[in-house]
């Protein structure tokens, strides 16, 4: 398998076993993978645990685009970024975790910027629902009211 590959190609294996053949230049945009390649502790197949095939495909798509378009206009890349990160919350969360875990700085930047845009103009209540889940919010409010209640002097 490895002999049939060109030298500068790497195989990434997702957590559910799917394999992706990626040029090394693209793969090393992830600092974690770069370190593994530099330390030569990886054979041609690099396991990427915690990231499933779906998300890994997205990350690779992003890295490829960024690698190709280094010479291209920056504004072009920006529109790609903003379209790329415009996804549902579930996918966004998985992407952020993957980008953080694999240390892909550009992707993490774009994603965080997107989440920041989502927060802008929202109320506290909405931010809580989005980031902490509704139930935790309820606990917080009840705690908060309880604290005020307890601190009162009952006479």
């Amino acid at each position: 398998m490895s002999s049939s590959l060109e030298k500068n190609m790497l195989i990434l294996r997702s957590s559910d076993g799917e394999e992706f053949i990626v040029p090394e230049v693209v793969a090393v945009m992830s600092k974690a993978i770069k370190n593994m390649v530099e330390d030569e502790c990886a054979s041609n197949t690099i396991p990427v645990p915690n990231v499933d095939a779906n998300i890994l495909a997205m990350v690779i798509e992003f890295c490829k685009k960024h690698d190709e378009s280094e010479a291209e206009a920056a504004s072009d890349l920006k529109t790609f970024d903003s379209e790329f990160v415009n996804r549902g919350q579930e996918a966004l969360y998985d992407l952020i975790t993957a980008a953080n875990f694999r240390d892909v700085k550009e992707l993490l930047d774009a994603l965080c910027q997107n989440v920041a845009e989502m927060i802008k103009g929202k109320s506290v209540h909405h931010i809580r629902i989005q980031f902490l889940g509704y139930q935790l919010f309820e606990i917080l409010t009840s705690n908060f009211i309880w604290n005020i209640w307890c601190d009162r002097d009952f006479d």
Binding site: I119, G121, S123, I129
Partner: protein, 515 residues
């Protein structure tokens, strides 16, 4: 059943199901404007602690865009308010939403009426040349610098400036003392020539004393809009017989330096008020509006290298109306390439290089002239910076708003109110502790009642005692009587007199009880 199912549905649809790591939350929060961050402080205790974390403060500072801090000139009861205007969104949204009002006493000291300059979110204010304040209006804490003079002599004029030394992570204030000295006197024509002599003192926040620098080669005359870059404050030197044009004071090494000017620039030096130095796109910039119908903007791409000066923008249209009487200071170049300019320090214009046109931007609630400076909002806390100085935290009094603005501002105000009320609440509680009304729980008291020896738990006196325990005074009384007989006596007395409040001890004594 229904109660539970609603939040569950909501959760599935909208929420990110798992908790993000703190590092990611920091990354996200550091990209938010200051107003949204006020709201985020309210989201949870975890987020509140993240936002006051020094790591977050630095991260946020590195990303925080420059804003405009302005002070209106009109005179009414609100005339001491400062307005913080978010320049990134000013041209996109309603001007009311893009600004935050800062109030004296709450955000900055009441006496600090003159704005000197700002650095990393800290604001230097002064009062009649005598008192200097350094404050962070976002957090509302401030310090007063000790009063100082140079050798006890009256000086003609003083100029102050706040700066930051990145290497040592210290904030410093430099104070120039200017003295007019007679240089020559011609007895025939009675012509007198003067020159300014300057001396300086420097104060490092956290050290607590002013240090003499002595005579200085250049002195600051007037502040540019925003000229702090590379740890140095820049200004233009118009002194006669001096070849140096762009000067700077490095707050790290505490040295004065000269920065090379653009190569073909020598001609314009005589136009005092028509050249400005500033910072644009992280480069030192010069805006030259000395020719009546043209504005040149230069950028020094590599700091300190003369050859890297390049003419970034030439504006030739649309300035005819107000002509050469105006001073133009470019504030920021937006992502779209448009340039925001502060005109005469009292109006904001948006210049579009593609169409070559100017557009006046409205600032909500300010009809009069104003004075504006660059300000980078940050959470840099003087608590961490100041050590020797006495820190004063923002006032607690907050007026109730008669009318509420819409949207984020209302929430931000609400948050302020909430935090203030919490602060006052906590204060009341501590006062209670000092006076001595300690909290005794009902459970403890009831347990003590039932454990009394010499009386049966089914006795009606015990039932009566339990019914008394809803009042804190009774609970405390119960706990402070040391013997069981004493308690029973007290209960009897209480029952007989129907719970009379007056002088219980005297009452007990009259029943022959001693304890």
């Amino acid at each position: 059943m229904t109660k539970q199912s609603i939040p569950n549905n909501k959760k599935k649809k909208n929420s990110i199901p798992k908790e993000l790591p703190s590092q990611i939350i920091l990354e996200i929060l550091s990209r938010l404007p200051i107003k949204t961050l006020f709201l985020c402080q309210l989201v949870s205790k975890h987020w509140l602690s993240l936002i006051s974390d020094p790591h977050f403060v630095n991260l946020h500072l590195s990303r925080s865009p420059v804003s405009l801090l302005l002070k209106p000139f009109y005179r009414n009861r609100r005339s001491y308010q400062l307005h913080l205007v978010d320049l990134q969104t000013l041209h996109k949204i309603h001007p009311r939403e893009a600004q935050l009002k800062l109030n004296p006493k709450i955000n900055f000291p009441l006496l600090g009426r003159q704005i000197v300059n700002s650095c990393n979110g800290l604001l230097c204010l002064c009062y009649d040349d005598s008192e200097i304040f350094v404050c962070n209006p976002i957090l509302g804490d401030y310090i007063v610098l000790p009063w100082t003079t140079y050798d006890g002599i009256e000086y003609h004029r003083t100029v102050n400036a706040l700066g930051f030394s990145p290497k040592t992570n210290q904030y410093k204030v430099i104070r120039f003392f200017l003295q007019r000295v007679l240089e020559s006197f011609d007895p025939f024509t009675e012509l007198e020539t003067y020159r300014d002599e300057a001396k300086a003192k420097i104060y490092t926040i956290g050290e607590g004393l002013w240090r003499n620098i002595g005579s200085v080669p250049y002195y600051l005359t007037n502040h540019s809009f925003n000229s702090f870059i590379n740890g140095a404050l820049h200004w233009l030197n118009f002194a006669r017989d001096s070849p140096d044009f762009i000067c700077c004071f490095d707050f790290g090494s505490e040295q004065f330096r000269v920065v090379p000017e653009p190569p073909e620039f020598g001609l314009h030096k005589e136009f005092h008020d028509h050249i400005r130095v500033g910072v644009l796109q992280d480069c030192l910039s010069i805006c030259d509006f000395s020719s009546p119908l043209r504005i040149d903007i230069w950028l020094m791409k590599d700091y300190g290298i003369k050859e890297s000066w390049s003419k970034e923008l030439v504006i030739e249209n649309g300035i005819g109306k107000r002509g050469h009487l105006c001073s133009y200071e470019p504030i920021i170049i937006l992502k779209s390439g448009k340039v925001l300019m502060l005109v005469n320090k009292d109006a904001i214009m948006l210049y579009n290089p593609k169409s070559g046109s100017f557009k006046m931007l409205n600032i909500y609630g300010i009809k009069s002239e104003f004075y504006g400076i660059a300000y980078i909002p940050s959470f840099v806390s003087l608590k961490d910076v100041a050590k020797g100085e006495r820190l004063t935290q923002g006032g607690v009094i907050l007026k109730r708003k008669k009318w509420v603005n819409s949207g984020a501002l209302a929430l931000a105000n609400g948050m302020e109110n909430l935090i203030q009320s919490l602060k006052t609440q906590r204060r009341e509680i501590t006062v209670n502790h000092v006076i001595g009304i300690s909290k005794v729980s009902i459970g403890d008291c009831v347990a003590k009642l039932y454990a009394l020896s010499g009386i049966d738990p089914s006795d009606p006196l015990i039932q009566y005692g339990v019914s008394l325990m809803d009042m804190a005074v009774n609970r405390e009384m119960l706990m402070s009587i040391p013997t069981d007989e004493g308690i029973i006596g007290w209960l009897k007395a209480k029952k007989e007199h129907g719970g009379g409040e007056s002088s219980l001890a005297a009452l007990l004594r009259s029943h022959g009880l001693c304890f």
